[in-house]
Amino acid sequence: MNFNAILPLLVLASSLVPGMIIFFLPESRIRLRTTLNLTGAILKLLLIGYMLWGVQHDQSYVFRYNVLPDLELVFKADALALLFVTLSAALWFLTTLYAIGYLEGSPHRSRFFGFFSFCVTATVGVAMAGNLFTFFVFYELLTLSTYPLVVHRGTAAAIRAGNIYLVYTLAGGAVFLTGIVWLYGLLGQVEFTPGGVAATLGLEYTAQLQVIFLLLIAGLGVKAALVPLHGWLPQAMIAPAPVSALLHAVAVVKAGAFGIIRIVYEVYGIEFAQTLNLLMPLAIVASITIIWGSLRALWQDDLKRRLAYSTISQVSYIILGVTLFGPAGTIGGVVHLVHQGIMKITLFFCAGNYAETLGIHKISEMNGAGRRMPWTSIAFSVAAFGMMGAPLTAGYVSKLYLNQGAEMAEMAWVSWMLTASSLLNAAYFLPILYRLWFVNQPQKWLQERIRARGRWETHGLLLIPPVVTAVATLGAGIFADTGWSPLFWVKLIAEMEYLP
């Protein structure tokens, strides 16, 4: 076996192995645990960097293993996989830093970081899955490894949230499995291939393929939090902030959205999906989700819950982009996978900072926090403007392409809907920013746990990650046209999909 084939395995192992070791480490081995975590994260980034370089130079990284005589486990680092892998590895690194600071001194950290690493392994597996079977394997592993993180605090509320999470995701997984097995029954193998593989079946299977599509999307829609399958997401907010960040920005919801991308482009193929009339219903569901999530966000006073509903809404931008037939829609949707990740993780990091530093959990308590925690609040503001689609931010780029895509697909109502959504975004983010910067701070903070020390408004490890991601939010917007932006990479992917 050559090196290119084991490279995907190494990427998986770079978080799996540290995770397993950490799981069995005694609680007191803090330094060893931190070293393992960071070594793994950096190693993963290096490996991915190598593969990014390789893919641009026409290398292919494929690993195959027969689980059954006619069932393969395939890892493939294609362009789309690398997009998601890079996102998760980079954000994992930052989240690990953040979590080390966030959880300092709290109990059960070996367990936490163990499952945290498993969770990233599962995400990377989802990203690099080369066929539907492999995708499912890691999709379910993701469920299992995130459950202990959701219930990590061990309170009754956390257990309840965990139950809801399980009911949704396991039921979704079961539906997904049915669809997959059915599709395997029809096709024999369902390897992700640009342009899709289902078209070979021809139109006489239309009805079956439509039902299978419904099953697959229903299964994936749970994690992608499509309305009405989104109920678990706001509940899961009970988890510690790094977990929320991970669930919302990188791992869970993205796995769902990423799966939908794979299904539409590389299983059905966008043109065949259009022929089967599958895109329009999905676009409608995505649009409803976008509006519904934004509307619900308006009424939340709990900061993390408002962000959660915002996530529901924003992830559906990705799905909406996927359903817009034409390269611009594709670019808008796929690039938003990255952009939303960077922006949303910033917001969650900041929310965690407010809670951890000042005991602020509600928006009504945020008055004047901007002056007490300027860096956190600047990062928060940048990300919030990004979410609204303000120019110079990553969000602007996404919305630009989505609007173009709507035009190309001749779906004018989508443009209107996007505008409405942007207004709603502004409606629920601007009041927060107003409170942060323009309302005087109270006499005494609710529960000031971390004192400001000189320039450090909070723990250093809590501050650096949101600032970095906020800078990335601006960077992805300002330097969108350079060769190192997510947009550039996504354009490559779109070219492959629409290659005649």
Binding site: V67, L68, R111, E140, G162, L170, G173, L177, T178
Partner: protein
């Protein structure tokens, strides 16, 4: 060429006698060494089967119909390997278990050796009367092990188990009598062609019904499951693990053999659908009851009732006319059997550790277990993954194959049952797991446990999980003819 077949029967008997001679509660090390030898022998045998195919072994050199024949093929190889792979860690576990809790230890080792001997003999037998003797052996050994705990509850469970198993083998023997009376032989190799070529007689049909009914009773298929939970849930943990993982499978193995070989000319699609229906009922009802339990070991025992149901889905699935669908059904059923045996042994062993540590068998007392015994809880969770049929476990591969078979054969009802069953098993597995994440119940003090209790269980769970990656080998062995 060295032939391991006779040694797999003789050796466990020798260990049994020797451990009896060494005295009460002693001989664990001997059994451990013996089992390692036997494991090597089964591996040799499995390799022989893969290379040279199935074969008969004429005990005493007479051959059927005069003498007793043994028969080994791929399925036999799988069962033998499974038995030893499960038993070996459990022996390590049992040594640690009985060193911290003496109840039920006195004749554990000889009884276990005889139990293993009985199973080896049963798996290899190709003679329906000889099978009867091995069934009785297995039953008596299992009852002895259950009763050894000595409490009123376990003695009651043992008596009930004994009576059920005697009723079952009585019905089986009546079937043997009818077959002998009609065809004049008890050898499968002789009977099979006779049944296949001659006109179907009423006696053969009745014999089939009696024998299968007796075996179903022993397999505890719904609605014959009533005896299983108290027997399996009340025994000492190593015994529960052996019984739930292996002993139940022995009678299922016989059903499989008889159904598809000897009685193949008699069985009808309706009968297969009936078995499937009972299996489906077992899955749903067993899972619901498992979820309702307040005692951990009873929960695990009811989960066995439910998991047995999956095995019976292969009967209706095998009737499919679509090529490949029947094959995947068989493969899926056998994978499920293997995966469940490994996972259930791990789960009972882990449950035993938790009960030992908490001092009482109560799920409500498990709070705090996640930090007190993380490895054991992890073991329980890994075993749970197999039972739920989630990837990458062996249980997942089994479920994949079964669902694949059902979908391609167009039998959608069973798909729904399997999906629902998976979700229900998640409900009862997570009922335990989430309790373990809660803070400890006030006033409870966990006793420390020895490491050697935790690792064998973990090993079993790990094998059940990684089985998913090695299923090709299992299916290769199964396919060896």
């Amino acid at each position: 060429m060295f032939d391991p077949v006779p040694w797999l029967i003789l050796l466990p008997l020798v260990w049994g006698c020797l451990t009896f001679l060494t005295g009460v509660g002693r001989g664990g090390r001997l059994v451990l060494a013996g089992l390692i030898i036997q494991l090597v022998l089964t591996i040799i045998l499995a390799r022989q089967i893969v290379m040279e195919g199935a074969r008969h072994y004429a005990v005493g050199g007479w051959g059927a119909p005069l003498g007793v024949d043994l028969y080994v093929d791929g399925l036999t190889g799988i069962m033998l390997l499974l038995t030893h792979v499960v038993a070996l860690p459990l022996v390590v576990y049992a040594r640690a278990y009985f060193s911290s809790q003496a109840e039920g230890a006195s004749y554990f080792w000889p009884l276990t050796c005889f139990l293993l001997a009985a199973m080896n003999a049963l798996f290899m037998s190709a003679d329906i009367f000889n099978i009867y003797v091995t069934l009785e052996l297995l039953g008596l050994a299992a009852v002895g092990l259950v009763a050894a705990a000595g409490s009123a509850g376990s003695v009651t469970a043992a008596i009930r188990y004994l009576l059920v198993t005697l009723l079952g083998s009585g019905a089986y023997l009546m079937g043997v009598a009818l077959l002998y009376g009609t065809y004049g032989s008890v050898s499968l190799a002789v009977l099979e062609p006779l049944l296949a070529t001659t006109e179907i007689s009423a006696a053969a049909c009745l014999a089939a019904m009696l024998m299968l009914a007796g075996l179903l009773l022993k397999t505890a298929l719904f609605p014959f499951h009533f005896w299983l939970p108290p027997a399996h849930g009340g025994a000492p943990a190593p015994v529960s693990a052996l019984l739930s993982a292996l002993v139940i499978k022995a009678s299922f193995y016989l059903i499989l053999r008889l159904w598809f070989d000897l009685f193949a000319p008699l069985v009808t699609t309706q009968a297969a659908q009936l078995l499937g229906g009972l299996g489906a009922a077992a899955i749903l009802w067993g899972s619901i009851l498992a979820f309702n339990q307040t005692r951990l070991k009873m929960l695990v025992a009811y989960s066995t009732v439910a998991q047995i149901g999956y095995l019976f889905l292969l009967f209706p699935l095998m009737t499919s006319a679509i090529p490949g669908a029947a094959e995947s059904a068989m493969q899926g059923g056998v994978m499920q059997l293997v995966a469940h045996a490994l996972a259930k042994a791990a789960m009972f062993a882990a449950a035993g550790v938790m009960v030992l540590s908490a001092g009482k068998d109560d799920i409500a007392l498990l709070g705090g277990m996640s930090s007190h015994l993380p490895l054991t809880l992890f073991t329980f969770a890994l075993a749970g993954i197999t039972l739920m049929g989630l990837p990458p476990s062996g249980g997942f591969i089994a479920k994949w194959l079964l669902i694949d078979s059902a979908v391609s054969g167009g039998q959608w009802g069973w798909v729904v049952v399997m999906i629902l069953g998976g979700l229900l098993s998640a409900a009862y597995v997570f009922k335990v797991l989430r309790q373990a994440f809660l803070p400890p119940v006030a006033g409870i003090k966990f006793k420390p446990v020895i490491r050697m209790l935790e690792w064998p269980a973990f090993l079993l769970a790990l094998i059940s999980l990684l089985l998913g990656f090695r299923s090709v080998e299992v299916l290769n062995l199964l396919g060896a003819a």
